[in-house]
Amino acid sequence: MIVTLFTPVASLAGGALIGLAAVLLMLFEGRIAGISGIVSRLLPPEGDGQTPGRLAFVMGLIVAPLAYAAVSGLWPVPQVAATMPILIVAGLLVGFGSVWGNGCTSGHGICGLSRLSPRSAVAVATFMTMAIATVFVARHVL
């Protein structure tokens, strides 16, 4: 297990940037910035003319570390502690669950809560509870 430091200022600023992106997508495109919704509608592409825009959004996410490195000089390496079998199970659950439940941390957590959606409030309470319980079992019970 890796202990990380409390970073309130950077986390608040990063969160505000995420919010800015969500507001800009609504202002320009009239759409919810939900990552699972955007990605899953490419699998396979929906015939609604939005495929190039969705691909562009995903490309923006993928190249974000390059922009971050260009400005800060730091390469943001994620610290992944999970083993390969756990990563496969976790990936399947995250992919299936976020699409089945109509949203993930971005669509329900940022956009849905900001729209005061009861569905998103229930979804956020559910996935936060399950994630906290999973980490508790993995780190303190097993």
């Binding site: 297990m1 890796i2 990380t4 986390s11 608040l12 600023a13 990063g14 969160g15 505000a16 940037l17 995420i18 919010g19 800015l20 969500a22 507001v23 800009l24 997508l25 320009f28 009239g30 919810i32 910035a33 990552i35 699998l43 190039p52 959004f57 995903v58 923006g60 996410l61 993928i62 190249v63 974000a64 390469w75 943001p76 390496v77 994620p78 610290q79 992944v80 502690a81 999970a82 990563l87 199970v89 990936g91 659950l93 995250v94 299936f96 669950g97 976020s98 109509n102 329900h108 957590g109 940022i110 956009c111 229930v122 559910t126 994630a131 319980a133 999973t134 980490v135 508790f136 780190r139």
Partner: protein, 152 residues
């Protein structure tokens, strides 16, 4: 124009995730680990990510949704369902378990495509398979007759 805007929005979103620390599974798990509170190693940073994200979006949506239409589209495409149902809860529960197992949710996983090496790529591949399966199941379920009582 629309494609360029969405690329830039994705870029800003990704930069936000990186700066916030959300793109690092160790930090996400450090937040989700409430059992670390008595040990003094709990990292509450993600509360600040949510506060910043929801704060800006709450105010921004108020301004934007007061407009007649978006700048580059005919109308606002907002979710119409309002009541929670079993599908929402079961999906969110499965998503939460997966999130707690690895510390990746969909946005941070995609941001890790170039930076996370084989572990991130394996997670992303499994996540995309999971998404395809959920969409297929959703299509199959929608195509089924609603209830036997309505079949006369």
């Amino acid at each position: 124009m629309s494609v360029l805007v969405q690329f830039l929005v994705g870029l800003v979103f990704g930069l936000g995730l990186i700066i916030a620390g959300m793109s690092d599974p160790a930090k996400v798990l450090g937040f989700l680990d409430l059992g670390a509170i008595p040990l003094g190693t709990w990292d509450p940073s993600l509360i600040f990510v949510m506060a910043g994200g929801v704060g800006v979006t709450l105010l921004g949506y108020r301004l934007v949704l007061g407009r007649v239409r978006p700048l580059l589209a005919q109308r606002f495409a907002l979710p119409t369902a309002s009541r929670p149902d079993m599908r929402l809860v079961s999906g969110a529960a499965l998503f939460g378990i997966g999130w707690g197992l690895a510390g990746f949710c969909p946005g941070p996983a995609l941001v890790a495509t170039l930076t996370g090496g084989p572990p991130a790529l394996v997670f992303i591949a499994a996540m995309l398979v999971g998404m395809v399966l959920a969409r297929r199941l959703a299509t199959a379920t929608a195509a089924m007759p609603a209830a036997p009582a309505h079949r006369n």
